[in-house]
C-alpha cells in the first residue's frame, strides 16, 4: 500500500499537471507557492500603508474611519482594504499548501531541516499579524476576537491583571489601546519579514518574486475579487453587548469556535503539540544519511562552477591549501549538502573518458560517484536490445520524476543535473545507445531546485560544462515529467526510439574495449567496487 506521503505527492502531481495546462509550467502557482507568499506579503504591506493614511486610532474613531473608507471611498481605500484582507487570507492558504507540499515531496528532512524549522514561527507570526489586524477595525468581529483572545491568554496566568478586564465595560477601553494595537500590527509583520528572510537563508538564489505573468494574474484576480466581494464590515463594537452571530474569517479565526467549546488547557496543549510536532518532524524519522559531496583537490582547480550551480549554498570558495598553483579551492558544508550531485555534474573534471588510474573527479558524490555512474551507463547499454542504429534509448532518470521505477536500459541518479554532459557524449560516442533520454522532474519544479534549468542549459550548450558539439542534438531527448506521468515518458521514449532508428547508427562510434565493459559490468554487479 502506498504511504500517505506518496499518495499526497501523486495528488499534488496530478493537480499541478492540470494547472500546467491552465497557467503553463513556469507560471504554475503550486510550483510558485514560496514566491507567491512573498508577493502576497508585499501586497498586504503596501495596502496596509495606504489604509494607515485613512485610519484613526480611537474607540469610536477606528470604526468610523474604517466605515468611511469602506463605504464612502470604496473605489480606492475600500478596494485596498479588501486586497489587504484577501491577500492575507491567501497567505494562510498558500502557507499550509506549501507546508503540505514540501512534506509530500520530502523536502523537509536532512540538510533541509533549517528551512522547515524556521518556517514554523512564520506560521505563528502570520496568525499574530492577522489577528491583531482584526482588532483594529473595532467592529463586532473585533470585539469577539479581542474578548476570546484575552480570555484565552489570561488562562496562562502570565499577566498580573486579567487583560480581558480591559473589555469589561465601555468605560474601561481607552484610545491608547488602539495606539498599542497599531504598534503591534506594524511590529509583528516586520518581525514576520525577518523570519521569512531567515527562512530562505540556506538556499541559493531564493525565489522571492513570482514570474511576472503569474504576479499580474494574481494581482488582477485579487482586485477583481475585491470589487465583486468587498471585505465585509460588521456592526460597531459595543462592550455593553456581546456579539452573538458573526461572519468569521475562517482562515485566521477558524480556531476561535474551538476555543469557546474546549477547555483552555486543551487548546494550549494542542497548540504546543502542533508546534513541537512540526518542529520535530524532520527527525521523525530523520532522512536516511546520504554522504555529502567530497572534494578531491588533485582534480580541482577552483573554477567555481560547482559553487555557482549548488542550489543550497553548500559549497564555498576558500583560499588554496595544498600549494597547487590556483588561488582557490572549494569546500563543502556537509550540514547543507543534500547529495543531489549537481556539483559533480558541473565539474569539468567529471569526464568518463579519463581512465588513467581511478576515475576521480574534482567534486564527487560518495554515495553515487562518477565511477559508478560510468559503470552504470555501460551496464545499461548492455541491457538494451538491438544493435547500433536500431533505435536503442538509454534513459537517465532522476528518482523524483516519471522514470523513478527501475527498468532495463535505465540509470537512476539523484538529480538529472548530476549527469555531466560528458556522460552523454560517452554513451553516444562509445555506441552504448543510439540516443539518450534525460527523464527529470516535472518542468514546473525540480526536486533539487535548479536541476531542470541547469540540465537544459548544459545540453543546449548555453552553460558550462557544455555538451560537446560532436554529440548530435537530435540524439538527446529531455522529458520533464512528474511521478504520475510514466505513460507519457514511455510514449515519448518510444517515439524517440523510432526517430533514432530513422537516423541510423551514430557515424563516429569508437567502441568501448571489452576489458573496460567487463570491468564495468562486474562493478555494477558488485556494489561499491566501481573505482
Amino acid at each position: 500500500m502506498a504511504s500517505p506521503r506518496a499518495v499526497l505527492r501523486r495528488g499534488f502531481d496530478r493537480a499541478e499537471r492540470a494547472l500546467d495546462l491552465a497557467f503553463g509550467p513556469d507560471w504554475n502557482p503550486l510550483a510558485q507557492l514560496g514566491p507567491l507568499g512573498w508577493f502576497l506579503y508585499w501586497i498586504v504591506v503596501v495596502t496596509g500603508i495606504y489604509l494607515f493614511i485613512f485610519f484613526d486610532t480611537g474607540v469610536t474613531a477606528a470604526y468610523g474611519s474604517v466605515k468611511w473608507l469602506s463605504e464612502d471611498h470604496w473605489w480606492h481605500a475600500g478596494v485596498a482594504r479588501s486586497l489587504h484582507r484577501y491577500a492575507s487570507d491567501l497567505m494562510v492558504l498558500l502557507m499550509f499548501t506549501h507546508l503540505a507540499r514540501e512534506w509530500a515531496m520530502d523536502r523537509y528532512r536532512g540538510a533541509r531541516w533549517f528551512s522547515w524549522v524556521t518556517g514554523v514561527p512564520v506560521i505563528w507570526f502570520v496568525y499574530l499579524s492577522g489577528i491583531t489586524g482584526y482588532w483594529l477595525i473595532w467592529d463586532q468581529l473585533a470585539q469577539y476576537v479581542a474578548l476570546t483572545t484575552t480570555e484565552l491568554l489570561d488562562t496562562l496566568g502570565l499577566f498580573g491583571e486579567p487583560i480581558a478586564r480591559n473589555f469589561l465595560s465601555p468605560e474601561q477601553l481607552s484610545d491608547r489601546f488602539f495606539t498599542l494595537m497599531v504598534f503591534m500590527h506594524i511590529a509583528i509583520p516586520l518581525l514576520l519579514l525577518l523570519l521569512m528572510w531567515i527562512h530562505i537563508q540556506r538556499i541559493a538564489e531564493p525565489a522571492t518574486r513570482p514570474p511576472r505573468g503569474l504576479a499580474v494574474i494574481t494581482l488582477a484576480a485579487l482586485v477583481a475579487g475585491s470589487l465583486i466581494l468587498p471585505a465585509p464590515l460588521q456592526g460597531q463594537a459595543d462592550l455593553a453587548t456581546i456579539p452573538q452571530r458573526l461572519g468569521l474569517d475562517w482562515f485566521y479565526l477558524g480556531l476561535y469556535p474551538v476555543i469557546e467549546l474546549v477547555p483552555a488547557g486543551v487548546i494550549w496543549a494542542g497548540l504546543a503539540a502542533f508546534t513541537l510536532g512540526l518542529v520535530g518532524l524532520p527527525w521523525m524519522p530523520p532522512k536516511p544519511d546520504a554522504p555529502a559531496a567530497e572534494v578531491f583537490l588533485d582534480h580541482c582547480n577552483g573554477c567555481e562552477r560547482c559553487v555557482a550551480d549548488c542550489p543550497y549554498s553548500a559549497i564555498t570558495l576558500i583560499p588554496r591549501s595544498d600549494g597547487a598553483p590556483f588561488r582557490f579551492e572549494v569546500e563543502v558544508n556537509p550540514e547543507r549538502c543534500v547529495a543531489c550531485g549537481i556539483c559533480m555534474g558541473a565539474c569539468p573534471s567529471s569526464s568518463p573518458f579519463r581512465r588513467a588510474g581511478g576515475l576521480i573527479t574534482g567534486i564527487d558524490l560518495p554515495g553515487h560517484p562518477l565511477a559508478q555512474l560510468r559503470a552504470e551507463v555501460i551496464r545499461a547499454g548492455s541491457e538494451l536490445a538491438g544493435g547500433p542504429g536500431s533505435g536503442r534509448v538509454m534513459t537517465l532518470a532522476c528518482g523524483d520524476g516519471a522514470g523513478a521505477v527501475p527498468a532495463a536500459g535505465q540509470v537512476h541518479v539523484p538529480c538529472a543535473a548530476m549527469v555531466p554532459p560528458s556522460i552523454l557524449d560517452f554513451v553516444i560516442s562509445r555506441g552504448l545507445a543510439d540516443g539518450i533520454c534525460i527523464a527529470g522532474c516535472a518542468e514546473r519544479d525540480c526536486q533539487n531546485r535548479f536541476g531542470v534549468r541547469l540540465t537544459r542549459a548544459r545540453v543546449a550548450r548555453e552553460r558550462d560544462p557544455y555538451l560537446r558539439e560532436r554529440v548530435p542534438r537530435q540524439r538527446v531527448l529531455s522529458v520533464w515529467a512528474g511521478p504520475t506521468e510514466a505513460g507519457r515518458l514511455s510514449r515519448e521514449v518510444a517515439a524517440f526510439s523510432g526517430r533514432l532508428a530513422g537516423l541510423g547508427a551514430y557515424d563516429k562510434i569508437r567502441p568501448l574495449d571489452e576489458a573496460d565493459r567487463a570491468e564495468a559490468l562486474r562493478a555494477t554487479s558488485e556494489p561499491g567496487t566501481a573505482q
Binding site: L19, L21, A22, F23, G24, W27, P29, S82, R85, Y86, D89, L90, L93, Y144, E151, D154, G160, E161, P162, A164, R165, L168, S169, E171, G213, L214, V216, I217, T218, A220, A221, L222, A224, G225, S226, I228, L229, A231, P232, L239, A240, T241, I242, P243, Q244, R245, L246, G247, L248, D249, W250, F251, Y256, P257, E260
Partner: protein
C-alpha cells in the same frame, strides 16, 4: 489563441475563482457564538486580601532603632479573598482567590463569565478579604434584567468598597 494569452485568461479565471472562494470563506459560514436569546454576565475584580499582623512587644520595639519602630509587624503574604456569587439563589461561584505574586503579596483577581438566557435574575455577590472576619467586606444583591445579547459586568470599586454593575 496563443499560449501566453491562453495562460493569462484561463489562469486568471482560475485565480479569480480561488480569490472569490477565499473571500467567501473569509466571512462565511457565520458562527453563532452565543444563542440568539443569550446574554453574558461577567464577574471580574481585583481586591487585596488582608494581611496577618500583630503588635510588636515593647522589647521588640526597644531593639529597633527609633526610626524603625512601627507598632505592627505584618506577614508579606496576603490572605485569600473569598468570593461568592448566587444567581436566583443558586450558588454559581464560591471560591477562595489566592493572592498573586511569587510571595503572595499581590491582590487577588477573578474573571469569570456566565452565559445566561435573556431574562430577569436575582443576583447576589459578596467577598471577604479576611478569613477571620465572620461577615463579608462587600455585598450586593440586585435584580437584573438581561436583554438578548446584553453584556453585564460586575466589578468591584476597591476605593469605595462596593460592587459596581456595568
Amino acid at each position: 489563441m496563443s499560449g501566453r494569452w491562453h495562460h493569462l485568461l484561463l489562469g486568471g479565471a482560475i485565480s479569480l475563482v480561488v480569490v472569490l472562494a477565499t473571500a467567501a470563506f473569509s466571512a462565511w459560514p457565520a458562527w453563532q457564538s452565543l444563542p440568539a436569546d443569550g446574554a453574558l454576565l461577567r464577574l471580574s475584580f481585583t481586591v487585596s486580601g488582608a494581611r496577618t499582623c500583630r503588635d510588636r512587644t515593647p522589647e521588640e520595639l526597644a531593639a529597633l532603632s527609633p526610626n524603625m519602630r512601627q507598632a505592627q509587624i505584618c506577614e508579606r503574604r496576603r490572605m485569600p479573598v473569598r468570593v461568592e456569587l448566587e444567581i436566583d439563589g443558586r450558588r454559581v461561584l464560591a471560591e477562595d482567590l489566592p493572592p498573586s505574586g511569587l510571595s503572595g503579596s499581590g491582590p487577588s483577581r477573578v474573571y469569570r463569565r456566565f452565559e445566561l438566557p435573556a431574562g430577569t435574575y436575582d443576583v447576589s455577590v459578596r467577598l471577604r478579604t479576611d478569613p477571620a472576619d465572620p461577615g463579608f467586606a462587600a455585598t450586593a444583591s440586585r435584580q437584573i434584567t438581561l436583554e438578548p445579547g446584553q453584556n453585564l459586568a460586575i466589578d468591584h470599586d476597591a476605593g469605595r468598597g462596593v460592587f459596581v454593575f456595568n
